[in-house]
């Protein structure tokens, strides 16, 4: 062991407080330090994950009080996998935006990197924490960073997107607090494991109402259907890497929160079916909205929402195969959708409105970016031999094992819709003539490195899924074993 989970939170916080001071010493430090912090977090998470996969979960106590009293962090195979993924994506996003922001003034650059780092830290906190109120705090950290990053460009529409996000986020925190208080008033504790072990004593009506408030609150962040009005706007108006961060990081953390509530804390059997229901509705509404989009990033945003719906469906199966498939999809979605956001934002770099038609004929000017976008598009619709295929296969296999033929058919039909709109864009890139007004912008070296890394990952996972499935199996087994989680947290003698 080289560290403990609490360092995931403390080191970035220290760095965040330090950055304004460091910026006074040497301006370049405000860019470099977040990267170093993220790199450190990645090393830490990989090490811890290795440790956890062999020796079992790490439960970290804070302030020396054993779990029902103090706050604790749980780094298990499941949360550890997600943390590693989130931090890895965060590092890539940092590398991608390292030069991206060079043309911006010092002050905004400082704030951008600080907020980006805190966005990632907040997500990591959501995943690691073992306390429902602490999770609320981290959700708010993520939220505020998200609002600010969405409004980062001083253009006309970014503030609008950010305001919508903030409005919904604010309502979300209201419901989250209500839910937390209903739970607290019944069991007198805020620790997840403790609540889970006492859940059977709560009257069902309180359970259900607090669950409804929870799902509403976190559903806003996790972009489930009627609650996701902010998402397309925010994805569209945020800077490219931030869109990737929303798709690859924030949503993942929120889905983790939903899953933790459904699988571990609440023992509502209807919650699983409910996940399937809202997942399907989200999938259908988002994918059908995506096909008619005129703006590239907006299309990607809807596609991302749809993918998360699919993840929700997989989680809703409630079987270990389902969880495995969902985690696999989360992984693939993080990689592929980030690649699409990265390459997509270069394809329409100099455009004001980011219309899809502005990607016409870009393959001649940006061959590598175009190729990577096409690779991402092929991968996300699940064509073999790319990464997306394996997750789709495992998802469908899990669904078939749960006898959900109708859902399989629905998911596959929606996949055809998805295929159509991605192919249309790829065709435009390769086979149309360039619009007169558009000016291609060559990707910077950093951006290219990041995109190629992601593309390589797609191929690696596509050709050799075993590289990742071992971890995923352990992670899904870890999530399914609710008793073990409670035992690990509550029987801590530290």
């Amino acid at each position: 062991m080289v560290g403990t989970p609490v360092l995931f939170i403390v080191i970035p916080l220290l760095a965040a407080f330090l950055i304004p001071l460091l910026g006074m010493l040497w301006k370049e430090l405000v860019r470099i330090v977040p990267g170093l912090v993220l790199a450190y977090m990645l090393v830490l998470s990989v090490n811890l994950l290795n440790h956890v996969l062999i020796y079992g979960p790490i439960v970290e106590v804070i302030a020396g009080w054993r779990p029902p009293l103090g706050i604790n962090l749980v780094f298990s195979a499941f949360s550890g996998f997600l943390v590693t993924l989130v931090v890895f994506m965060g590092l890539l996003i940092w590398v991608y935006s390292y030069r991206f922001k060079r043309n911006v003034d010092f002050e905004p650059a400082k704030k951008y990197f600080l907020l980006l780092m805190m966005l990632i830290t907040g997500s990591v906190g959501i995943i690691l924490t073992g306390d429902i109120f602490n999770m609320f705090v981290f959700i708010e950290i993520t939220g505020i960073s998200g609002y600010a990053l969405t409004a980062f460009y001083t253009g006309r529409d970014s503030a609008e997107a950010s305001f919508k996000y903030l409005m919904l986020g604010s309502i979300a925190s209201t419901f989250l607090l209500l839910a937390i208080m209903i739970i607290y008033s019944q069991v007198g504790t805020l620790n997840m494991a403790d609540i889970a072990s006492k859940m059977h004593t709560i009257k069902p009506v309180y359970k259900i109402i607090s669950f409804i408030f929870f799902i509403t609150a976190i559903g806003i962040e996790a972009e489930i259907f009627p609650l996701n009005g902010w998402a397309p706007d925010a994805y569209t108006e945020a800077p490219g890497p931030v869109g990737a961060a929303f798709a690859g990081i924030v949503v993942k953390a929120s889905v983790y929160a939903i899953v933790r509530y459904v699988y571990t804390i609440f023992d509502l059997s209807g919650a699983y079916d409910f996940l399937i229901l809202i997942g399907l509705i989200t999938l259908i509404m988002a994918e059908t909205a995506a096909i008619r989009q005129e703006r590239l990033k907006r299309m990607l945003a809807y596609s991302s929402i749809g993918q998360m719906g699919l993840v929700m469906v997989a989680f809703g199966m409630g079987t270990e195969e389902g969880v495995f498939a969902a985690l696999f999809m989360i992984l693939n979605h993080a990689i592929i959708k980030s690649l699409l956001f990265f390459s997509g934002s270069y394809l329409v770099y100099n455009s004001k409105h980011k219309y899809i038609k502005e990607v016409n004929g870009m393959s001649k000017y940006l061959p590598i970016t175009s190729l990577l976008f096409a690779l991402g598009a092929f991968a996300i619709v699940g064509l073999p031999p790319f990464a997306g295929f394996w997750s789709k296969l495992s998802m469908l296999t899990a669904a078939a094992d749960s006898n959900m033929l109708f859902i399989i058919a629905l998911v596959l039909i929606v996949s055809v819709v998805e295929l159509v709109y991605y192919l249309r864009v790829v065709n435009r890139i390769y086979f149309f003539n360039k619009e007169e007004k558009t000016e291609p912008k060559k990707p910077t070296f950093n951006a290219l490195i990041v995109m190629i890394t992601l593309g390589a990952l797609i191929l690696v996972i596509g050709f050799y899924p075993d590289a990742i499935t071992g971890i995923l199996h352990k992670a899904s087994a870890d999530l399914m074993d609710k008793g073990q989680y409670i035992h690990d947290v509550l029987s801590l003698n530290k």
């Binding site: 020396g64 103090g70 805190m118 503030a159 007198g188």
Partner: protein, 231 residues
């Protein structure tokens, strides 16, 4: 139309919420083995902090507070980022009419008292109601008063961010020191002393003082940033 729909929706929501909370009941303990009893007991026996709320905020759930301080910090940063203008675009404060001499001299008198009150509140956070957040807010109101009274009163931005950063670093640093001494983050590693003494509670008052500084500096920063915004 929209209003009616919203009223119906909110009515339903309110009905269910009210029903739930009325059902939960008011004014009596709802549960038997809650953490609050342990808190009330340990704050006296282990932490020697007479204000249980403080011991919860700073020690039992100190991690929340760290996050909370971060939220404030982020809000200030976000504010700066959202309202950012290039230097030459930043305008002077617009003042409709200047304050009368009664106000100016009055606030000059009041200002040290307000600051002192704030400091008192956060220094005694572990003994009496109050604490870092409350004290910090009081300090910020002092600055607000000065900023409102004097058109060209300015706060040194560097000092503000220095205070913010150092206080934050101190908070996290104390937490890390606890990690090194006691094995867990934010561990109370200093001998707690005697209950109801000013110097009691180990690191708790120290952390709360840091929080007080940080909150004061950040709220002042927020006020300062927004005041310098022309519509």
């Amino acid at each position: 139309m929209k209003k009616i729909i919203v009223i119906i929706l909110l009515g339903t929501l309110g009905f269910y919420t009210a029903h739930t909370f009325f059902d939960i009941g008011f004014g009596f303990p709802h549960f038997e083995h809650g953490i609050k009893d342990v808190y009330l007991q340990k704050t006296v026996s282990d932490l020697k902090v007479s204000n249980t709320v403080t011991s919860i905020v700073v020690n039992f759930r100190g991690f929340d507070t760290l996050g909370e301080v971060t939220v404030l910090f982020l809000a200030v940063t976000a504010l700066g980022g959202i309202l950012y203008k290039r230097r030459h675009e930043v305008g002077e404060r617009s003042v409709l009419f200047s304050a009368s001499s009664i106000v100016t001299s009055g606030s000059k008198l009041l200002f040290p008292a307000i600051i002192l009150l704030g400091v008192y509140v956060f220094i005694h956070g572990h003994l009496s109601p109050g604490g870092g957040f409350q004290g910090g807010t009081i300090i910020a109101t002092g600055f607000l008063l000065m900023l409102l009274t004097y058109e060209n009163y300015s706060v040194n931005h560097t000092v503000l961010s220095l205070v913010e950063s150092l206080a934050g670093i101190a908070f996290a640093g104390i937490g890390l020191l606890g990690f090194m001494h006691g094995g867990t983050f934010l561990q109370n590693f200093i001998e707690p002393g005697v209950l109801n003494n000013l110097f009691s509670g180990g690191v708790i008052p120290i952390i709360y003082i840091m929080v007080g500084f940080k909150v004061g500096a950040e709220l002042t920063g927020v006020i300062y940033t927004v005041l310098h915004e022309k519509g």
